[in-house]
């Protein structure tokens, strides 16, 4: 599946914002103004591009996204907003489109002012080299501590018409070292009204980016933007189309979310934490996050140690109602704990085999109700500490 969508062109250049000389400025351009929806960080400390986009996206329309790595433009005050405006203006000029149709995104170090002049200098070159296959370059330009660019593309057909959803993302943690964190840009040729597009995006994000954790830290810059240019001739107002689009969008964002966890800083494994048997979905989510973020559980996963006592301790402190005597725990199909008690040393040996896989599921059944939730996480390795301790040195 090619990473391209009819009517969208993209590209990236090395503007000089990164010390390592890699590509650091990317652009996505829709040949016609697109319907736009966005989801942003819930952190109360929000970066300038987040504040800027939240305001601008209220129109429900967008034609271009400009994104940089190397600097998060966060905790930069009034000047940060002015810098975001200047970047958008520079892009609009280079593209010959109205300024208000440009959205921006930044990722990198927090607390330093953006070098706007190098961006302005690079902009005409960037705009001049946009091409249909350029989304991969954008994926490269936005990575920071990521070890690989994250891309997914899918198609679906309704009758004789085909639509495409292609997306790029970056992130190696809910927050990155001194950087801030997760960006995702989705392009589609579906047609849509802003409120339907916004709801579809929200639903897809809930089951993907909002169901993963690397280190429990939420960033100041998290941004997901979805542009829909309508060129497929299909529109979200038709029920069949809405259902098909939602399915594909969910798949695309979920695949990207798992790529982010797999690329979690220092991670060696992808682990799905499934909690069931609660009386509410919120309780299941809380328990799953508590287990998924426990440093002791995560270090045991890194050590491939079937240390279920740490899982029991995390469940017990999660702050939701439990009964210690009705808890069952499975590592894939291996039952480790039954009625809150260990199943013996033999099953520990079987569980240790499960732990050697690069993806497995830990199921925690509280047997108090019929609700469930799953959170996807990674282990906590010595490399996580090394990456985060050494980042700015």
């Amino acid at each position: 599946m090619k990473l391209q969508v009819p009517g969208f062109v993209a590209g990236a250049v090395a503007a000089g914002l990164r010390k390592d000389g890699n590509k650091d400025l990317g652009m996505i351009f829709s040949e016609v103004p697109a319907c736009a929806a966005g989801v942003f960080t819930t952190n109360q400390v929000q970066a300038a591009p987040v504040l800027f986009d939240k305001e601008r996206i209220k129109s429900g329309r967008c034609q271009a996204i400009v994104a940089n790595s190397g600097n998060a433009n966060a905790c930069t005050g009034k000047r940060g907003i002015e810098d975001a405006e200047a970047v958008a203006r520079s892009a609009a000029t280079a593209l010959g489109i109205p300024e208000e149709l440009v959205l921006v995104a930044s990722t990198g170090v927090i607390g330093r002012h953006l070098n706007v002049s190098v961006i302005e200098t690079a902009m005409p070159k960037l705009a001049g080299q946009l091409n249909a296959a350029g989304l991969y370059d954008v994926a490269q330009a936005i990575i920071t501590t990521d070890t690989f660019p994250k891309t997914v593309s899918k198609q679906s057909s309704i009758g004789d018409k085909t639509f495409t959803v292609a997306a790029v993302a970056k992130g190696a943690g809910m927050i990155l070292p001194d950087m801030a964190t997760m960006l995702c840009f989705v392009c589609t040729d579906i047609g849509a009204e802003p409120h339907l597009l916004g709801q579809a995006l929200k639903d897809a994000v809930t089951a993907s980016f909002n169901a993963i954790t690397v280190d429990g830290d939420t960033s100041t810059n998290d941004t997901v933007l979805l542009l829909a240019n309508g060129l497929s001739g299909l529109n979200l107002k038709e029920a069949a189309c809405a259902a098909a689009f939602q399915k594909i969008l969910n798949e695309v964002l979920f695949a990207l979310a798992l790529q982010i966890v797999r690329d979690g800083e220092g991670a060696t494994k992808l682990v799905s934490i499934q909690v069931k048997g609660t009386s509410s979905k919120a309780d299941a989510t809380t328990v799953a996050y508590t287990v998924a973020n426990s440093p002791l559980v995560k270090t045991a996963l890194f050590g491939e140690d079937a240390n279920w006592g740490r899982i029991m301790a995390a469940v017990g402190r999660a702050g939701v109602p439990i009964n210690p005597h009705t808890i069952d725990i499975y590592f894939d199909d291996v039952c480790m704990v039954k009625d809150g008690l260990g199943c013996g040393e033999e099953t520990e040996a079987a569980a240790t085999t499960v732990l050697k896989a690069d993806h497995f599921t830990i199921t925690i059944d509280l047997r108090l109700g019929s609700e469930a939730a799953t959170i996807h996480t990674c282990d906590l390795s010595t490399d996580y500490v090394r990456i985060n301790a050494d980042y700015r040195s």
Copy 2:
């Protein structure tokens, strides 16, 4: 200050519960039945000795404490409770005192049954070697991943009468690797009624053990026991005595709490996180814990990186009301952030010097009110991951 209290004797032996052959069974004995108070883990998954002691301490009286390392007797069901009872009975027989005056405590691996027979075999020898200077041996017998035994002793006088508070503790994290965690035994010759003693203990614990965090995990075995034998002739019902005792008790528990953080698994620094300017103490505590438990903040502290952006991000996700534009952050006396904006690279250099100290304070002033709270924590090092990944291998 000698680690002994009139009327108390103690001792420890290697009963054979630990693989390494170190002392693993300790006992504290009061020559007269003492007034007793206890504080226990809030984890909903509670170890057998915790469930056992919570019931037994309702009498407000205790004459002996038996504690073992090597096994937490947690997640062991009905048999765990029977094992705790058997240990208490064995101690009562060896000491010739009523069974209901014995409390027990355990720390070590979760989910394995206690080897009661080796404890019963060792009990007569243990009871036979109790001595006035034996508290240090108890401190040694209860350590697990701790790198040093934790002891504090203080005296105070009122008129011509002197009282002593001596205490031992173990713990290198809010929870330990596959072990469970913090134990503290306090002996004093003050006189008291159970309800006054209980209140004094609660107050002292709030400002000490409940104000530290190593990794944010709460254990299944946390236990603090305080025995007061009255031999000083001073009694808590006198106001002057109550005030003097509270002061000394606070100092003793606070000193032990800081010893635990200093000995946090893999820790290289003790860091006090002071949050002020909130409208409630609860808000200040929540923000302080969020910062103190952030893996990104903790790894930056390990890397001696004055990375205030991570602190801002943690404050922003703490879930309490903040204004990003009224936040000031200090590393000791160095102002790093003013009105939510960085103070420039020069102050970063000064802050880096602060970070090289082995104890310093990070002050976060939210400037929204007059409440404050301080939490003491340590950094997150590669050794933390190594200790916790390798523990059972």
